[in-house]
């Protein structure tokens, strides 16, 4: 089996190198698109990994919380700030920051409420019970979005500037891509600080390791779990804002597909492992961008989903602990 993996990786490398040689500038531009996609996926994947780490629950509704984040952001930008295309810098910065905070707060509260209503009563049930409920919640959120915004795309104006940050011998990097990364980075740093350095983070890690032992040490387990859902929802809200700003449109089913892709990213990196989720998200972002952008022997965007899910299946079957690995998804 290792030989097969080595051969596959070798082929992948050859494919990348040939594509790079055929058009280096184009290749790097595509690389930047992958980086941006990866940043958005990372925010969503972290939510999956946080919740799985603490409850061993695949929160199917997470992608839809992300979609609701996009809806909240769209509402803020359209109805509260009335931004059109190309707003002034001051109003843009103000609007983006306020929208970010609102979306994060709203999605965090939404996610914590979902946990309280739909998952907590099932904590002692067989493991499949909350998973099934999560699917139900996912459908409910989608229909809430249909009822709120209708079944067609809600378009968001192009508020982020599209000018070039730099353009060196055909390699261009636009402001909108940079801004996405610039918003993602501080959020990620804040999360790492929260989990590694604060008392609440310590409680989260303890609860993830052993809930009963944590309870005996005086940690309020239920509150810690709620807090984890709040944080995961806030990350999804931030992701939703970035998605709405970068792709300029949100629809009720946006979150479902993207959620599955982000979940794949979390599994790829090793579910329950925070740096792993970011790494996996970047990897999936690059895979998607290269698959949809490159030209030499590329399956194309028709097959993106199949490729991503094939990776998911292969990882789960052959290396269930993911790239970085933490806990075995066997559940054991």
């Amino acid at each position: 089996m290792p030989t097969l993996a080595a051969v596959l990786l070798g082929l992948l490398l050859v494919w990348l190198v040939v594509n790079f040689v055929q058009g280096p500038a184009y290749f790097i531009t595509i690389f930047f698109i992958g980086l941006t996609l990866g940043a958005v996926y990372a925010l969503v994947a972290l939510g999956y990994t946080l919740v799985y780490g603490i409850l061993e629950l695949i929160n199917f509704a997470h992608g839809d919380v992300f979609m609701m984040g996009g809806m909240f952001s769209a509402t803020m930008i359209l109805s509260v700030f009335h931004l059109g295309a190309h707003p002034s810098t001051v109003s843009l910065v103000l609007a983006v920051i306020v929208s970010l905070l609102v979306a994060m707060l709203a999605c965090g509260v939404l996610n914590a409420a979902i946990e309280r209503i739909a998952y907590r009563p099932l904590r002692n049930a067989p493991r499949l019970a909350p998973l099934i409920t999560a699917i139900g919640v996912s459908f409910i959120l989608q229909d809430v979005a249909i009822g709120w915004k209708g079944p067609s795309y809600t378009s968001v104006p192009q508020v982020l500037p599209r000018g070039n940050v730099f353009s060196i011998s055909g390699v261009t990097y636009t402001w909108e891509k940079l801004i996405v990364v610039l918003i993602t980075l501080p959020v990620l740093l804040a999360l790492i600080w929260l989990v590694q350095r604060t008392r609440q983070g310590k409680a989260m890690r303890a609860t993830a390791q052993d809930r009963d032992a944590a309870a005996m040490m005086g940690i309020n387990v239920n509150r810690t779990i709620s807090f984890t859902f709040l944080i995961a929802g806030a990350l999804a809200g931030a992701g939703g804002l970035l998605y709405a700003l970068y792709f300029n449109q949100v629809r009720y089913d946006t979150g479902f597909q993207l959620g599955l892709i982000a979940f794949t990213a979390a599994v790829l990196g090793g579910i329950g492992n925070l740096p792993g989720a970011v790494l996996g998200a970047l990897a999936i972002g690059f895979i998607q961008a290269f698959n949809e952008g490159l030209t030499w022997h590329t399956p194309g965007s028709d097959w993106t989903q199949s490729i991503v899910f094939s990776i998911l299946i292969l990882i789960l079957v052959f290396r269930p602990e993911g790239l970085l690995g933490e806990r075995s998804p066997e559940g054991g």
């Binding site: 739909a118 099934i132 229909d143 079944p151 009963d212 309870a215 005996m216 239920n222």
Partner: protein
């Protein structure tokens, strides 16, 4: 059902101030008279619910009372307990005769008219799929979120072997209703159905072998992955290295209809071609009923077999089952293959009924839709699963539109209820899992498992001052 009725009878009695002892001390004829009066009142309420004092509503009430009230299980003929068969056979008879008395049925409250025969066909097909999924989810306890892949496989099997798709071939094996100048492979549907089942079962084994080592939620994700890949392959399959396998988004149409051919019509009085029949939908409905009956038979026989008991053992405790010598992989793979078989047959039959196979029919939503049927009806219980399938398939086909029309007419609102179809299923899933995880018609074994839970009472849910947690309820 009967025990439940008995329990509620005693509860109603004690509510009226009568305990069991006092009730029993009364003479038999008094008790019988009281019971008959209560049954009569219940019947009248039922008729009142239907809103019309028509003879058909009376007939429905009478049928329900006759089926539910007497103790059929105690009936013995010549010492043999035949009674337990009577309600099932009666329901079957009512179902078979449905196309004949549909026109004289009254309006239902809120839901409007009784389902048309074409809806009944779809209900029967989905019942078959739900029975198939029940093997995997209900018996073996493996959550399959990609069941639609099996449905798709069956449908495409029918489309490949009973249509003009492969136009460079010219094969005809008992197909009916071919036009002059036909091309492609045309096998008779009676060959295509088992072929589709077996091919789908093989796909199930291929999917299952590498993935069934995973437990619980990870298996669910892998099956979901397959369920997402399958429709994409179907959608993009019009150019697989230059070969047109699935005809892409256009789908494959028309697919041959069923039929027995002219010889069988002349000699055996079987229908030559369903599509030429006057009561087109009814013929399809009866055939679907036969398929459902076969599925029910296999399901109930397998449940009590060695294999079925092994499935239940795995569902309840995988480690213990392995320790008792149950081969985990083989047993799980059989559950998968069996479930896939019925999904494939149902898919092929549906393709034949709709005369086409389209990739849009195989979205993740359908997997959840079928799962919802199993959960709502009661995981592991055949009758529950059939009920869930019929009810949800009916809602999907007619019920939601009718209900929406009723709501809009009575509350002067303008809600497009069918738009919220999947949200309604979501609400059903959440409510059932929270309040009645064993489903509406549960199997007692699943119910016990779901109420006991699999974990001990966690320490952190112990109430302050409550002392030690009580022994696991």
């Amino acid at each position: 059902m009967r025990r439940r009725l008995g329990e509620s009878w005693w509860r109603a009695l004690s509510g009226a101030g009568l305990d069991q002892q006092r009730w029993r001390s009364w003479p038999a004829w008094t008790r019988r008279a009281i019971k008959a009066t209560v049954a009569l009142v219940a019947g009248l309420v039922l008729i009142a619910l239907f809103g019309v004092w028509s003879s058909s509503a009376l007939a429905i009430a009478a049928a329900v009372l006759v089926l539910v009230v007497p103790s059929w299980d105690r009936l013995r003929v010549g010492g043999r307990p035949v009674g337990k068969w009577i309600p099932g056979l009666a329901v079957l008879g009512i179902a078979v005769a449905y196309p004949y008395y549909l026109d004289s049925m009254p309006q239902m409250p809120v839901f409007g008219p009784f389902p048309a025969v074409s809806t009944m066909v779809v209900m029967a097909i989905f019942a078959m799929m739900a029975i198939g999924l029940n093997f995997v989810v209900g018996y073996a306890g493996l959550l399959d979120l990609g069941y639609v892949a099996f449905y798709a496989m069956g449908a495409y099997m029918a489309a490949w072997f009973a249509s003009d798709q492969f136009s460079n071939k010219h094969i005809n094996l008992g197909a009916v209703g071919l036009f002059p100048g036909w091309a492609g492979i045309h096998l008779t549907i009676w060959l295509v159905l088992p072929m589709a089942g077996i091919a789908t079962a093989i796909v199930g084994v291929i999917i299952g072998l590498p993935t069934l080592r995973l437990r619980g939620d990870y298996l669910a994700i892998v099956t979901l992955g397959f369920g997402e890949i399958m429709p994409q392959v179907a959608q993009n399959g019009n150019d697989l290295f230059g070969f047109n396998l699935t005809n892409g988004t256009g789908g494959i149409t028309p697919v041959d209809g069923p039929g027995f051919g002219n010889w069988a019509q002349a000699n055996l009085h079987l229908l030559a071609n369903y599509l030429n029949a006057g009561n087109f939908d009814a013929v399809f409905f009866w055939t679907a009923l036969v398929l459902v009956l076969i599925a029910v038979f296999c399901s109930s026989r397998l449940r009590d077999s060695r294999l079925g008991r092994a499935w239940v053992a795995i569902r309840e405790d995988e480690t213990a089952a392995a320790a008792m010598g149950i081969p985990l992989m083989r047993t799980k793979t059989w559950a998968y293959a069996t479930g896939a078989f019925f999904g494939g047959v149902a898919g092929a039959y549906y393709a034949s009924y709709r005369s086409g196979t389209f990739p849009d029919d195989f979205k993740f939503n359908i997997s959840v839709f079928i799962l919802c049927m199993v959960i709502l009806g009661g995981m592991g219980n055949i009758w529950g699963v059939i009920f869930g399938a019929c009810f949800l398939a009916y809602l999907n086909q007619e019920g939601l539109a009718n209900t929406g029309a009723w709501i809009n007419a009575h509350f002067h609102s303008n809600i497009q209820v069918p738009n919220y179809e999947f949200g309604i299923y979501g609400v059903i899933i959440v409510l059932v899992m929270l309040f009645r995880p064993e489903g509406l018609i549960p199997s007692s074994r699943n119910a016990a498992e779901l109420h006991e839970g699999v974990h001990d009472e966690p320490l952190y849910d112990v109430q302050q001052g409550g002392g030690l947690p009580e022994a696991a309820a």
